[in-house]
């Protein structure tokens, strides 16, 4: 994998990317309009915005599940397509997307199996990841025997299977209830601190974005553009715990993101803004 990468090669570099979806009639829909973004190695960046702002489209472009109309995307200094072929990222979607005919362990082993990892190594890695996401008692269960939160934990374990240096997550907690969601966020913070991976995280929850991220990218819809980037500055991943949700800095960043989302940029006190890059 890309652990040997030097720090000056960004995990993700998006430059002037536009994506226009062709329509039957007319000029088509501009999902993303001239978007540029850089994610440093080990950095946690959230993409937030109302539906139609192109946040999921941007993530799919980075994953090379879709191709930009113009502009360039590099992952660890390579074109996105090459990064996908080299398996430089792990990915998790809003739906867990587990294979129902495979057990928890079988699902986590899937990417390893497809990429020719030997049976013993596969077993060992799956056991490790199952412990990491706290499902040790469920290794031989099938997905339909698990709750939504547990299924999503399996999906996250699967995305970590090949120790990627970049994790792409498209609203992975979107379908979960609020309590499960907060617990999953705490676990993700712990996992990220352990794996040191860079993360691009799509969400429509403001507290989720602020709690998890080093930087929050606020996007606006039609056409999808980056309105602003908020540096949250709540400290190291390893230091983030449940009490952070009561922290003053947390609430400050929260209201900052909220005001940006509502398009009320004039309402932000300029002296109180730390590290906001207004584009």
């Amino acid at each position: 994998m890309s652990t040997s990468m030097t720090n000056d090669v960004p995990a993700v570099r998006v430059q002037g990317v536009t994506r226009i979806f062709a329509a039957r009639k007319g000029s088509g829909v501009t999902a993303l309009d001239d978007v540029s973004l850089t994610v440093a190695p080990g950095e946690f960046v959230s993409l937030i915005g109302p539906s139609g702002c192109g946040k999921s489209t941007l993530l799919r472009l980075v994953a090379d599940l879709d191709v930009p109309t113009s502009g360039s995307i590099e992952v660890f200094g390579k074109p996105a397509r090459q990064a996908r072929i080299d398996q430089d990222y792990g990915i998790a979607f809003q739906q867990a997307g587990l294979l129902p005919w495979r057990t928890v362990a079988g699902n986590i082993e899937l990417p390893l199996e497809l990429h020719g990892v030997g049976k013993a190594a596969r077993r060992a890695r799956a056991a490790e990841l199952i412990a990491l996401v706290g499902l040790a008692d469920f290794a031989s269960h099938y997905p339909d025997q698990l709750s939504g939160g547990m299924q999503q934990r399996v999906a996250i374990a699967r995305s970590l299977a090949e120790s990627p240096s970049l994790l792409l997550m498209d609203e992975p907690f979107g379908a979960l209830d609020e309590m499960t969601r907060e617990r999953m966020q705490n676990e993700l913070v712990r996992i990220c601190a352990e794996t040191q991976a860079a993360v691009v995280f799509v969400t429509h929850s403001i507290p989720e974005a602020v709690f998890l991220s080093n930087r929050v990218v606020v996007m606006s819809p039609r056409p999808g553009r980056i309105r602003s980037i908020v540096s949250v500055g709540l400290g190291e991943m390893s230091g983030r715990g449940e009490d952070l949700r009561e922290d003053e800095g947390f609430f400050h960043a929260l209201s900052q993101v909220r005001e940006l989302l509502h398009g009320d940029e004039a309402g932000i006190n300029p002296t109180g803004v730390r590290g906001v890059e207004t584009r």
């Binding site: 599940l65 996908r84 990915i91 997307g97 005919w101 497809l114 990429h115 339909d144």
Partner: protein, 258 residues
């Protein structure tokens, strides 16, 4: 989560009690109202004929069952293979769709007289082909549907893993289609028996259940005719249950709960 299974008592005992009650009621009505045998024979009379002619009924079941089984295998293999081709090649799908649609509305057993003239009235081939055609339609449609049920999130996942087409087919497409293939086979299993049996009414060699039913009825041996009907019910049930058991075993964990 799985729902609780009803008790063994409920599964086994309830239908037995119901069946015995129906037979007793039937027997009572036939003797009580003195219904003539050519209208409706009494169940005990049918039972007596069935046990007395057990060997003949069993022979009939073997002949018809063999035709149905050969038809089932040919039709299923053809249906699955062509469905895979249709799923892979849009052009072929476009060409095959009207033909298969036409096949599905033709009363296939009506082809039997034509097939008897093609393959000769002394051979079982026509019956096997009728069964195969009847099987082909549901297997083809169900398999094709299953092959197209791959969820977008699984397709994205396979692309993200940068695997070959064949790896994706084996890892996701075929297992997704499997429950649909077996649903098709379950429907087809009873169709195979029915078609093979009805095809016998239109000609061909004697020995099967269909021929035996008509010849017993035409010689006024109504009890025996019904004994053969009982044999064909048992044969149809055997096919259906076998298909159901295989389906349950193979697709235990293939259901997608969302």
């Amino acid at each position: 989560m799985r729902t609780a299974q009803p008790g063994l008592l409920q599964i086994v005992l309830a239908p037995i009690v119901f069946g015995v009650a129906v037979i007793l009621l039937w027997q009572g009505l036939v003797t009580g109202l003195a219904i003539k045998a050519f209208i409706l024979p009494a169940p005990f009379a049918i039972g007596a004929e069935f046990t007395a002619n057990l060997q003949n009924v069993a022979n009939g079941m073997a002949v018809t069952g063999r035709n149905a089984l050969i038809g089932l295998v040919i039709g299923a293999l053809l249906g699955i293979a062509l469905a895979i081709v249709s799923a892979l090649a849009r052009l072929f799908d476009g060409m095959a769709a009207p033909v298969v649609a036409a096949l599905s509305v033709v009363p296939i057993v009506a082809l039997a007289p034509v097939l008897y003239t093609m393959f000769g009235a002394g051979a079982e081939t026509a019956r096997q082909l009728v069964a195969a055609l009847a099987v082909f339609v549901p297997v083809y449609f169900n398999t094709l549907k299953g092959l197209r049920m791959v969820r977008p999130v699984h397709r994205d996942l396979m692309r993200a893993y940068a695997v070959t087409n064949w790896q994706a087919t084996r890892a996701v497409t075929l297992p997704t289609a499997l429950p649909f293939v077996f649903t098709g086979l379950r429907i087809a299993s009873s169709l195979a028996v029915i078609s093979a049996l009805i095809a016998e009414y239109f000609g061909g060699p004697v020995g099967g259940l269909g021929k035996s039913i008509t010849s017993a009825a035409s010689s006024s041996n109504y009890g025996l005719a019904w004994a053969y009907v009982l044999g064909s019910i048992i044969l149809g049930l055997a096919f259906y249950c076998a298909a159901l058991i295989v389906e349950t075993l193979v697709t235990r964990n293939h259901t997608q709960h969302q």
